[in-house]
């Protein structure tokens, strides 16, 4: 069964068609990449899946259940977590407090504060932020704010994770570490749908790639198929 399924998903902003009739499906345990030129509608599609924006038309199902029309916190409690392209951390809280807030949220059963604290500590360790727990989130460089977002998303115990450019702003050595992190997340059994421009990483970690262009699906296939696709090279990769 498809874990996440979209049928003829549409989003209009006034006269602008941001997402046009997009069909997609993500299987359990898959890592699927979402690429496309800037302004193609990738983040908007994530906003529709996570409930941050209402769809204009079409339907999105998670484990067979319709989630279009639900609020972001309801979708999160069902097991879909996300990160944001521009990090949405609680700027005035410390890194640890950010992780703790997420640990206290999103559980099917209530979690005790000591348990949440333990979990927050483990998650910061997991994403490599354990040495900066006492720093205010706003004082982190953007790349580390994104890692904090990963920790927060994981704290909600998701089965499906939406990553919006978590590797932006990382140098090649840091990208290599981020790829290890993604493999670790995958090994936990979490399904991943990720927007990313770092092609080297996308190629290595994704089973399948979907390409958006002007709000419509331009191509879909394995990394090899996508990187040799003429249309994709023309509008996205360059020669």
């Amino acid at each position: 069964m498809l874990m996440l399924e979209g049928k003829k998903v549409m989003k209009h902003f006034g006269g602008l068609v941001a997402v046009h009739n997009v069909d997609f499906g993500i299987n359990q345990g898959e890592v699927v990449g979402l690429i496309g030129p800037n302004g193609a509608g990738k983040t908007t599609l994530f906003n529709l899946i996570s409930g941050s924006l209402p769809t204009t038309a079409g339907e999105i199902r998670y484990k067979g259940e319709k989630i279009t029309g639900l609020k972001p916190h309801q979708i999160c409690k069902k097991g879909v977590a996300r990160t944001f392209q521009s990090a949405q951390t609680f700027a005035g809280l410390t890194v640890f407090e950010n992780a703790l807030a997420a640990s206290l949220f999103g559980k099917k059963r209530a979690i005790s504060v000591p348990d949440a604290e333990r979990e927050a500590t483990e998650l910061l360790e997991f994403v490599g932020l354990s040495t900066v727990g006492a720093v205010l989130a706003r004082d982190l460089p953007i790349a580390n704010q994104k890692r904090l977002e990963v920790a927060r998303a994981l704290a909600t115990k998701p089965e499906l994770l939406l990553f919006d450019e978590v590797m932006a702003g990382l140098n090649p050595a840091e990208v290599a570490r981020a790829m290890e992190l993604i493999t670790k997340i995958r090994n936990k059994g979490i399904t991943l749908f990720m927007i990313e421009h770092v092609m080297k990483a996308i190629m290595k970690v994704c089973d399948r790639i979907i390409v958006l262009h002007h709000g419509s699906k331009l191509a879909e296939g394995t990394p090899e198929e996508i990187t040799t696709n003429k249309k994709v090279i023309e509008v996205y990769l360059g020669e």
Binding site: G36, A40, N171, P172, L237
Partner: protein, 234 residues
């Protein structure tokens, strides 16, 4: 053109920049590389007057500028595009651009500046009436760069301009930085996309833990074992 000497900068009680010295000659492209948290943005924030150093000096065109306010430094000819662009989200694209021309001597030339920027980024003209917050990540970056050029700078400092850009646009962006440089704008570039940043640079500096640990021409960086291993992932 720019000379930084023995700079120390603190964030509260934490020292982020330790005795940093660097210089940029007119018409150069200089890349500043280093890991996240190495102090690169702090150094740019200090040069632009957003932070004041605890000690050391910054000279631009032989004039002390440390201690001046950010707007005074822009008026002297240094534009800065901080990490993430910092657009005015609730203003239109056109209004954002015009805000870049607020220094008195450049305000008069704003129409001419606008035309030049539209040639570089034609979409900014077509989207003039759109609110900045509705732009995509890559479009935001280009608007932020366009806005910085409205002040007609002599020196441009870009903090991770390729952040969030699609591969094709990354290539265009670095090409664009070179184009600016040919129009007599000196460039200080901070980038995680180290390969590209070194390819277009005349010289580079490596910052680690708030200290300059390597400086030299591009080729020295490209051949350096430490750079290859720790930063290029080779």
């Amino acid at each position: 053109m720019l000379e930084v000497k023995n700079l120390d900068t603190f964030y509260g009680k934490i020292q982020a920049i330790w005795g940093v010295s660097l210089r940029i000659d007119e018409d150069e492209i200089v890349s500043l590389v280093g890991a996240n948290s190495a102090g690169k943005s702090t150094l740019l924030n200090t040069i632009s007057g957003m932070l004041h150093p605890a000690s050391g000096s910054v000279e631009f065109l032989s004039r002390r500028i440390d201690g001046l306010s950010p707007d005074a430094i822009v008026e002297l000819g240094i534009s800065y595009v901080p990490e993430g662009g910092r657009l005015f989200n609730e203003m239109t694209v056109r209004e954002n651009l015009e805000m870049g021309a607020y220094p008195r001597q450049t305000w008069k030339r704003r129409k001419e500046s606008l035309e030049q920027i539209y040639q570089l980024f034609p979409f900014l003209k077509a989207r003039g009436a759109q609110l900045a917050r509705t732009l995509s990540g890559g479009e935001r970056q280009m608007l932020a760069m366009g806005r910085s050029l409205m002040a007609r700078p002599r020196l441009c400092m870009f903090d991770e301009p390729s952040y969030g850009l699609a591969p094709l646009l990354v290539k265009e962006l670095f090409h664009f930085v070179k184009t600016l440089n040919k129009q007599d704008i000196t460039i200080l570039l901070v980038e995680q996309n180290i390969r590209h940043a070194l390819d277009i640079a005349d010289r580079a500096y490596l910052l680690e833990n708030g200290r300059i640990v390597l400086e030299g021409p591009r080729d020295l960086f490209l051949q350096n074992d430490h750079i290859k291993k720790a930063y290029l992932g080779l």
